[in-house]
Homo-oligomer: 440 residues x 2
């Protein structure tokens, strides 16, 4: 059991649909591959009933684009399977992204048609990024959007991300990152801790109690090894007996107990009373067990101190993908002049042309509109906040958008943005987007 | 833009929740870490209304377990962040899985409580696999279970996996693999093609048409470069005009046209008539546009030749995770004797003890029951088919369960299993599991 998989590669270029490369081949043939293009990633709508979305993934995307190259392994696969011809392979071997990328920074709120990412370069370079761009933004933004509602429902109590086991192993790490951007306090996922600099936390599982001959043995082992500040899981057999055993062993320094089943609201109340009656007024109560934003809201009046949230977080709480698309909105003609383009459509709004965006605020600083300008910035407004920032210039990554620092900055940006949005974003009920998107 | 991320590692060991390692630390302290244990992965139920589930991911899991080791980078992270103490780090540095793993092979159907994976080893070894085991099985089985219903609804017409852009980039590759196991004909995902030996396919996007000055220019470029067997996307402007242009340029050898919007049933009918009237009786019609198992079923009476399925597939069509858990069901005591264990629970069935399983068939070969034996194989039955197979013995991977060959074999197994299940599995309506799970 000591093999390295044959496909192991540090390049991200095959996170790509087959047709991106055959379109490149055909466009190289026609010469149109060299036309300058503008592609935009945006969502035509928010998931049903959602009031806002939160952008996440841009930092991961920019890190991945640095490795979006075709090495010997990638080229060999494409050659052997005949996906593209020799001329295209030669072009891919030289591939470097040399264009410009702008967009909404991570942690920012977005609304229908917000230009979340704007890629300007030749068609050859912009086309083949499509799948990877959308995979990252659609996944991470879906998770951040769900996480933000949970944090809002928790009203200041910490939310802990614990959903790794219900998501693909790599998606789990990305989900932890997105959750922290949207205000989660920590994650259980160690890979996310390593890769993104997140704080990791954990309690114990039922298996640990069952492994020992008695619950008392298990608690003693955990306390002896991890200290009295640890969190003991108290619902393996009988909650009341477990709480009494825990206090008996740990005294009033016991960090926390975890409740993972049953009626959490009722239990939190009587466990709090029991802990207090035993003198453990500082011992906290962590609740878990298939929580989502609605059950977190229902726990607001209960004496729960922290929420461990898993499945609902990593599956986007009913909206596992943000539904963003990546559309060509402009390209040059043979004379080198830009022309706006858009697919004709009966029931979708397709507006060609490069978008700019600002968030209009009222005099009290509350957001009122998402204002999009086509081809140019919307006219200056006294309280308008420009939303689009540049990430890559001439193929060069601009500083500040990647790495653990970018996660921390995005987390602050999320808090700032939420404070600026109208209060309706804190309502869990289904409804329209919190602010309308309008064209200047 | 040429950096390698600092976290890059070939090891899978940090796809793990924080508490797995702190439980190991505490169990090393108490000595219980050396007890022999049996952990089982199973689902307490199927997603609401589903009749059956399909196991997938086991091959990926077994490949990943070969790299489940703690190298310098992993140990350094755990040390710097203080997740575990020095004694535990020393143990992790030596970690190799030396136990046994059994389970349902990929492509097999599963039902509530089916022991999809069984891990027998010391607690130290079995405990820390939990998160990774569940991440892989929960994701891949969710996708395979949804895919199987789509394939069933397609009633023999090929389903093509095209959902990469709506899933995390790594989850997308795994989703393609799971879809092909459950009967999909091919995928658009190149990484999945490389890694798992899957056939990749593609058509063209609206951007390719919009890039060119006219639709005719775009079609000519695609046909010239990719040959007349290609699939032309005909709904960028006007479908009828596009079909006529396509036939004008490609003649009766045109491979296929793709419809990606509007009323697909009605369009498929009149586009078929139009193609036939132009002499293109062999030109196929590929339909795409947010298809799921229900819309595929609705297209059964329409002349569509293949289905491109994206979002619904990669998000598990409403059930993005299989909800499997990994539970300690038995462990030795200090005398080395095995004892069955289970958490007490008011509203969940928790049966301790190592499970065995067979599928009971009636005299015509149709499945009637999922029969579980606790601690031993259920009694032999004339038509009972044993379901649990061994994957790893004494830490050694047994042949046949990994690599592209395992995917092909799982695909055949899925077809065989589906043929054996009662006809109710082909109904899309919500209902009870197709066969009941009983204990022998």
């Amino acid at each position: 059991m000591d093999t390295s998989p044959a496909w192991d590669s540090r390049f991200t270029s095959l996170y790509t649909d087959h047709y991106e490369l055959t379109m490149l081949q055909a466009a190289l043939h026609s010469g149109a591959a060299e036309r300058r293009t503008v592609f935009e990633a945006f969502a035509r709508g928010l998931p049903e009933g959602r009031r806002y979305g939160i952008v996440a993934g841009t930092g991961r995307l920019l890190e991945g684009l640095a490795s979006f190259r075709f090495g010997p392994s990638e080229l060999e696969f494409l050659e052997q399977t005949g996906v593209v011809n020799g001329a295209t392979l030669a072009r891919l071997a030289e591939f470097r992204f040399t264009g410009d990328i702008w967009g909404y920074p991570e942690g920012e709120a977005y609304f229908p048609y917000s230009p979340v990412l704007i890629v300007e370069s030749t068609f050859a370079e912009a086309c083949i990024l499509e799948t990877f761009v959308l995979s990252v933004l659609n996944h991470d933004s879906a998770i951040a959007s769900a996480a933000s509602r949970m944090v809002s429902a928790a009203a200041g109590r910490p939310c802990l991300e614990m959903g790794s086991r219900r998501a693909h192993e790599e998606a789990a790490a990305a989900a932890a990152r997105a959750a922290v951007i949207a205000g989660f306090a920590a994650t259980s996922n160690l890979e996310a801790g390593r890769r993104f600099g997140l704080r990791t936390v954990g309690t114990a599982a039922h298996s640990f109690t069952l492994l020992h001959d008695t619950e008392r043995d298990a608690f003693r082992a955990q306390l002896d090894s991890l200290g009295s500040g640890t969190t003991l899981l108290v619902d393996t057999y009988d909650v009341e007996a477990a709480v009494r055993t825990a206090v008996d062993l740990a005294g009033d320094k016991l960090g926390a107990v975890r409740l993972d089943s049953g009626d959490l609201v009722a239990q939190a109340h009587w466990v709090r009373e029991l802990l207090d009656s035993l003198g453990n007024v500082h011992t906290k109560i962590v609740v878990t067990s298939d929580l989502d934003e609605y059950s977190v809201a229902a726990l607001r009046a209960a004496p729960a101190d922290a929420y461990g949230i898993g499945t609902a977080l990593v599956t986007g709480s009913g909206a596992p993908t943000a539904g963003m698309v990546y559309k060509l909105v402009g390209r040059t003609n043979d004379a080198g002049k830009f022309a706006a383009v858009a697919k004709s459509s009966k029931n979708k709004i397709n507006v060609g042309g490069r978008k700019h965006a600002l968030r209009r605020l009222d005099s009290s600083g509350t957001a009122t509109h998402e204002v999009l300008g086509v081809g140019r910035l919307p006219p200056k407004e006294p309280h308008g906040r420009p939303l689009v920032q540049q990430f890559i210039s001439g193929g060069k990554l601009l500083p500040g958008w990647t790495g653990p620092e970018a996660v921390a900055r995005a987390r602050r940006r999320h808090a700032d943005t939420m404070a600026e949005l109208p209060a309706v974003v804190n309502r869990l009920q289904r409804g329209e987007p919190a602010i309308p998107t309008i064209y200047a």
